[in-house]
């Protein structure tokens, strides 16, 4: 191909790609634009820009934040996400290291159980997990962290074990010779080496927990709503009475932290998601 032809083809490709990129952004932009319009002009005419007549400023944000308990839901989502991701990273890395190093028959069985759990869709355990969690009085904000540890352990132990196998044993042996207990050896020597994989595991789990709807809905119910639950509940409001303005504002507020998170840690997020995909 001559250089001239190629650059012409490239220019067409670039234009095409930007048109497509605009289409990719359109749904989110549409919600953002409509979040500034009065509820009456949203579902009927979503493609009109707000004008003097339909523009309501930040009113939707105020009603959305206060009336549907969205602010509390937001706080709950942050608490659950940070708490369970912390627990998952800590618990799974300790478990992954132990079962890889102890190499007994029982540990191998455990490893395969963790891997097996990745294959099982949530609907399989949806009803029974709600029952077990209720029986153990874990159906509260602290209990759900423990439940997330159990669900997150499968993929996380699997990914972290793969990494532990690549750490040379000599490093740990040297630490043991110097008089480290297994706990010291793990936190002073092994965990620092595991950090890149731990970051990947943290990102994958954070995205899952933040966006998860069914588990918090079934375990915490509608009294302690998380962000996805609050959005779903406010949509189920009696037909015709849904406050679409408030809903648009809630959708924007649910998306903003994700975009902010993405802008800050884009490199790690893409790497992490791809690593999770390759292994999962």
């Amino acid at each position: 191909m001559t250089k001239r032809k190629r650059s012409a083809a490239d220019r067409v490709a670039v234009v095409g790609l930007w048109v497509l990129a605009a289409l990719f952004l359109l749904p989110v932009v549409l919600v953002a634009v409509n979040s500034f319009k009065s509820s009456l002009y949203i579902t009927g005419a979503p493609f009109t820009l707000p004008n003097a007549h339909t523009f309501v400023g930040l009113k939707n944000y105020l009603t959305g934040l206060t009336s549907a308990g969205f602010l509390a839901a937001f706080g709950r989502s942050v608490f659950i996400t940070v708490g369970s991701v912390g627990l998952i990273v800590l618990g799974s890395s300790m478990t992954a290291w132990y079962i890889t190093r102890a190499k007994t028959r029982l540990m191998q069985v455990l490893y395969y159980l963790f891997v097996f759990s990745m294959l099982v869709p949530f609907q399989m355990v949806m009803y029974t997990v709600t029952y077990v969690v209720g029986q153990l009085n874990l159906d509260n904000l602290l209990g759900i962290l423990f439940v997330y540890l159990g669900f997150g352990a499968g993929l996380s132990v699997f990914m972290l074990s793969g990494f532990v196998r690549a750490i040379p044993l000599e490093i740990e042996e040297a630490a043991t010779m110097d008089g480290c207990s297994p706990l010291q050896c793990f936190f002073r020597v092994v965990f620092p080496i595991m950090r890149p994989t731990a970051v990947t595991v943290a990102i994958l789990n954070a995205m899952w927990v933040w966006n998860d709807y069914l588990l918090p809905y079934l375990v915490l119910g509608t009294d302690e709503k998380t962000v996805p639950v609050a959005i779903q509940i406010s949509m189920q409001g009696a037909y015709g009475s849904t406050d679409y303005g408030g809903l648009m504002a809630m959708l924007v507020l649910a998306i903003i932290p994700i975009i902010a998170f993405y802008l800050v840690g884009q490199k790690y997020i893409i790497e992490g998601v791809v690593a999770g995909a390759v292994k999962g």
Partner: protein, 282 residues
């Protein structure tokens, strides 16, 4: 490290995670399998009925079979649309065009947004377009089907694109050069060199799109909730409705869930076997 010494540390390292794993997964899984052979409204009043739930899942009404058909068709179409778009984007974004990084970020972004939020974002867009004809997405199952395909493609294409880009960048430059010196056209290079060499990426992406599409729940609930008349209800949503939508059907719901699990596991195994055998080493 001395094994006996390590053995004493089991309660510290493994026990907390193992306890959580038992509560969240292992006990509910075993209990779930057992309950699928029982009739119950709460776990404590379970009564063994053999295979009755499994039979009722197919014979009592057509919901399960219809959901299975809808999920299968949806998955088949999604796997094609997502992977074609993702691969095309990956090819275009590995040519060193201007703005490549920004474009990649834009295409990847939808993947981070959760299913419930995405469902309502899309319902505004799709119902907005359909309102020009005076209908909405619940008007016909065809609208619901393509709406869900569009949503799924929008959400997953950027993700798969990133995996394809990684695959394409792993192809040694000499191979492409050698092909063009031998007089291969761009199309031949794509078919004979690039495609065989990105087979591992194709395996991963097909597997991921297959599993994600077949297990879809949140997007289905938020965009169509099965309307009209449960016609756009996928398997996961049908199982949910059987459990919580009608009393006395919990056993049937659990039986459907076991079948769903077996299908997902079988699909994953077959898929991996099939595409693994076609991979080529560079």
């Amino acid at each position: 490290m001395d094994k006996r010494q390590l053995g004493r540390w089991f309660p510290v390292f493994v026990l907390p995670t193992l306890a959580a794993f038992c509560v969240a997964f292992f006990v509910p899984f075993v209990l779930g399998v057992w309950l699928s052979f029982n009739r119950f409204t709460t776990v404590s009043n379970a009564r063994f009925v053999g295979l009755e739930n499994y039979i009722r899942a197919f014979t009592a009404d057509s919901d399960f079979v219809r959901a299975l058909g809808f999920s299968a068709l949806f998955t088949a179409v999604s796997v094609v649309t997502i992977n074609l778009l993702a691969f095309a984007l990956a090819l275009l974004l590995t040519r060193g065009l201007r703005g490549t990084n920004l474009l990649r970020s834009v295409f990847f972004m939808p993947n981070l947004i959760g299913g419930i939020v995405l469902g309502y974002v899309f319902s505004l867009l799709i119902n907005g377009i359909l309102s020009f004809w005076g209908v909405d997405i619940t008007y016909s199952a065809t609208y619901g089907f393509w709406g869900l395909v569009a949503l799924n493609t929008w959400q997953l294409a950027g993700y798969m694109m990133v995996i394809y880009i990684a695959g394409l960048q792993n192809i040694p430059g000499e191979l492409i050069e050698a092909a063009s010196i031998d007089g291969a056209s761009a199309a031949t290079t794509l078919w004979r060199v690039k495609l065989p060499l990105v087979m591992p990426s194709i395996t991963i992406c097909t597997f991921l799109t297959l599993a994600n599409s077949f297990k879809m729940f949140d997007q289905n609930l938020a965009l169509t909730a099965g309307a009209p008349e449960r016609e756009t209800q996928m398997l996961a949503l049908d199982i949910y409705q059987t459990f919580y939508g009608r009393s006395g059907w919990q056993g049937v719901g659990q039986a459907k869930a076991v079948l769903f699990f077996l299908l997902v596991a079988a699909l994953a195994t077959v898929q991996l076997r099939l595409t693994r055998s076609r991979e080529v080493d560079a």
